[in-house]
């Protein structure tokens, strides 16, 4: 067994420096690597380019990095829940590249799978396709999109083992699965880190070869963005 285990978040994020490109898993606040984000805030690395479907909310998730102006550029699909983000974007302080969600996911998956580029119909005829190569396949127009190139990928899983194997829970799999192994170095923070041999190999979502450093997060707030319930009748 090759161990991917590190002792804590500080060790895991050791190589992250100013100006790097970092992928961060999660959808909204669901499945975000919250311990690693807290450490990025503490380390105060700046000029980051962050690839993340959303930008958190004002006081949680990537919103914490935005507050401290640590992010130079965001690559996201939807940023509507963050007023500070919108302010920085409209004032030009923050560079933003909005990408269709499926394209964003596939740019991660392509990087993970060693595919340099791909064609997708998403965005054809819109400003997203401006300046990009387009091509017709089966009578339909497609846009050429490239795999992401990132220095670090930080994902969050429910369970993991020392070998770096990951299991996600519910919809927290989202961008965490396609981002694992999609950068030069992948960091996984997990709610529960167990010895190798504990998890059933049949149940593994991401094999440990895709993960360089794995650690158990100290605490998970797992904040809910839109708490919606129904009445018991």
């Amino acid at each position: 067994m090759i161990s991917r285990k590190v002792n804590n978040v500080q060790e895991a994020l050791d190589g992250i420096q100013d100006g790097m490109t970092i992928m961060l898993g999660g959808f909204g606040l669901c499945g975000i690597p919250e311990n690693s984000i807290a450490e990025l805030v503490r380390k105060n690395v700046t000029n980051l380019t962050c690839i993340s479907n959303n930008a958190g909310v004002d006081d949680f998730g990537l919103g914490l990095l935005l507050q401290k102006r640590q992010i130079k550029k965001m690559i996201s699909s939807y940023v509507g829940e963050n007023a500070e983000f919108e302010r920085q974007m409209l004032s030009g302080e923050l560079e933003v590249e909005l990408t269709p969600q499926g394209t964003l996911a596939e740019k991660c998956r392509a990087a993970q799978a060693g595919i340099p580029a791909f064609f997708t119909p998403a965005g054809y005829g819109t400003e997203v396709a401006e300046g990009k190569e387009v091509r017709e396949f089966n009578g339909k127009m497609h846009v050429l999109e490239y795999a992401f190139k990132a220095d670090f990928s930080i994902v969050k899983a429910w369970k993991g083992d020392e070998a770096g194997n990951l299991i996600f829970k519910g919809t927290a799999r989202n961008f965490n699965a396609p981002m694992a192994g999609a950068a030069k170095i992948t960091i996984a923070e997990v709610e529960e880190l167990v010895p190798a041999g504990t998890l059933d190999p049949n149940e593994i979502h991401i094999p440990g070869i895709m993960v360089n450093h794995i650690f158990q997060g100290e605490k998970f707030e797992k904040r809910i963005e839109q708490r919606t319930v129904r009445q018991r009748s």
Binding site: V79, T120, G170, I224
Partner: protein, 219 residues
């Protein structure tokens, strides 16, 4: 009488057929799930990575790890599955999803849709909408016929940045059901008590009107 949002959802629910996998956008589309006939089998997909979505959880049973694309806490029904976002858009691009229902700021007579950006004012991003409209075979737009300033959202040509081109098949508003045909918008139905004249007045685009236009049936 113009329809309210729930009545728009009710009318759209009539388009949901047995055996359909359906993706619902945020807003009025989400309400459609409440009105789908209970004697047919339908599964709801949410693009963040779940198929077989159920109703909201009971209070105290919310799970931060189980949400829909609107970031709302949800439940799952028997037969449900979770998957990652790349896989989710794979099933959307591969047209496994039968029906996509979403909101819009503008729709044009050739089926273009704009719903993600007002330059210099509102930039929330397109989320999954561009992927959905570029791939789905069957797209129904649920929207109000006019905006808050009283201007028609049913146009000859969209003025806002587009989300997709030539993709919308049907539009259901508080006033009318419109079909997008190669010749433009065809008026199919009008809301109860709303006249054809009312609809023409609220519509910037030309309408194709053939014969008597029936009233929508909403119980």
């Amino acid at each position: 009488m113009a329809l309210d949002k729930n009545q728009i959802a009710k009318r759209i629910a009539q388009e949901v057929k047995d055996g359909y996998y359906v993706n619902l956008g945020i807003g009025i589309p989400t309400l459609v799930a409440n009105y789908v006939r209970t004697d047919i089998s339908v599964e709801f997909q949410s693009e963040n990575g779940v198929l077989g979505m159920g109703p909201f959880p009971f209070e105290g049973e919310e799970d931060a790890d189980i949400i829909n694309a609107g970031k709302q806490t949800i439940t799952t029904l028997p037969g449900a599955s979770f998957f990652d976002s790349a896989f989710s858009f794979g099933m959307i691009r591969a047209q496994k999803v039968d029906l996509t229902i979403l909101g819009a700021m503008e729709v044009s007579e050739n089926g273009d849709i704009a719903n993600w950006k007002i330059p210099g004012k509102m930039v929330k991003g397109m989320g999954g909408a561009m992927d959905l409209v570029a791939s789905a075979e069957n797209i129904i737009v649920a929207m109000m016929h006019v905006n808050k300033a009283g201007e028609s959202k049913i146009l000859k040509k969209c003025s806002l940045p587009l989300t997709g081109v030539g993709c919308v098949k049907k539009v259901v508003t508080e006033l009318a059901v419109l079909e997008v045909t190669p010749k433009g918008f065809k008026l199919l139905e009008r809301a109860p008590g709303v006249s054809v004249q009312d609809i023409i007045k609220a519509t910037e685009a030309e309408l194709i009107i053939e014969g008597e236009i029936p009233e929508m049936k909403i119980d």
